[in-house]
Assembly symmetry: C2
Homo-oligomer: 214 residues x 2
């Protein structure tokens, strides 16, 4: 049984976080709709940062102790509908951001639940959903020689799960977890990703944020 | 003629910014619906940080070189309707955040224009609206002995106005202005205020944000 399972872990954000968690000594399973692509991503991730990394189907990843969702927003509802039973009452971390690149502008899709994290909580009502890791640049995560800067703001209505995800975040060297309060606050954390993507575009950088005064 | 005029400047955010601008050597006029309350606020501001501070009606503040709007969101439309002619084509800085404290949660009101800054642009179509200063804690601004930490993210569709407001922000010691891109990005900067208010509440702090990697 892996420590952390990624649902939809074959994109840059999933692989980037997997690199860092595996590098920090956690065992990781990268899930995908295709077992073959899951295994390929695992080989790639282990090649970058080493550690105990396997790949498989999303259902295999759902068996891990803690689940991290890195599915693109467009596939979220379909993917999670099939996994609710396997995930059950576990801690589920939402790193999803419903970014919208329409009309040359970078924004966030207005979702019915207020945020992707709240939508995941609706889709997985028995689980303890925690919003986190939305604001870290995948490019930096994948480059293991690069010390990742930035705070991870962690939001949940389950205080015990929130504390565990702050600990998880702090397994990554250079990262601090900051208590952001209730799950509904994820809306603004997801908005920070849209803000950072805009800042990156106009300044030609790869930025992160830190909370000062905490 | 003052360098900076505050529309609705008698609240903590307006007074706090006025303290810092006056302390940095800019002349400031604090506008209010009541000339008497404007004058009282000016006396208070000058007493904290010194400098050239006067008070008056919002219409007096609208005569300044650059305008900063710090009206509570609920009074925004009514206040600006009367000032459009006086403001004309000037640079108008929106520090307004439509915070919502309903139901025990701290969020942002869903406004028709997407953000307070965009609403101000609709209300003052001839002006060059710039979103800035939404994320600085008034308590810190008012305490002139306290070095204000944090970045001011500056958004506008008018690049010249954006550059001028970055310069204005950097008149405050300790503050860096960061180009946030188009005015529509203000939506996410206003969201950061809601995020910070939540972080403040759960961690019992007065936080600010910094963008790292720029």
């Amino acid at each position: 049984l892996a420590d952390v399972g990624f649902i939809g872990g074959t994109g840059p954000e999933g692989k980037g976080l997997a690199v860092r968690f595996a590098h920090a000594g956690l065992s990781v399973i990268i899930g995908s709709r295709s077992a073959e692509r899951g295994a390929e991503a695992a080989t790639e991730v282990a090649g970058i940062g080493g550690g105990n990394v396997t790949g498989g189907m999303n259902l295999d990843a759902a068996a891990a102790d803690m689940i991290v969702v890195t599915v693109p927003y467009s596939g979220l509802a379909d993917t999670l509908a099939d996994l609710e039973e396997a995930i059950g009452e576990k801690i589920v971390v939402s790193a999803v951001v419903p970014l919208n690149f329409g009309g040359g502008r970078i924004g966030v899709i207005d979702t019915a639940d207020g945020s992707a994290a709240q939508e995941i909580q609706r889709l997985l009502p028995r689980s303890s959903v925690v919003g986190a890791f939305q604001n870290l640049a995948a490019g930096h995560l994948l480059d293991v020689a690069h010390l990742v800067e930035g705070d991870v703001i962690v939001c949940s209505d389950d205080k015990e799960a929130l504390a565990k995800v702050i600990e998880l975040a702090q397994r990554i060297e250079g990262i601090r977890g900051v208590n952001g309060g209730p799950l509904a606050v994820s809306r603004f954390v997801e908005g920070v990703t849209a803000l950072l993507v805009n800042i990156n575009r106009v300044n030609k950088v790869e930025a992160a944020i830190k909370v000062v005064g905490v």
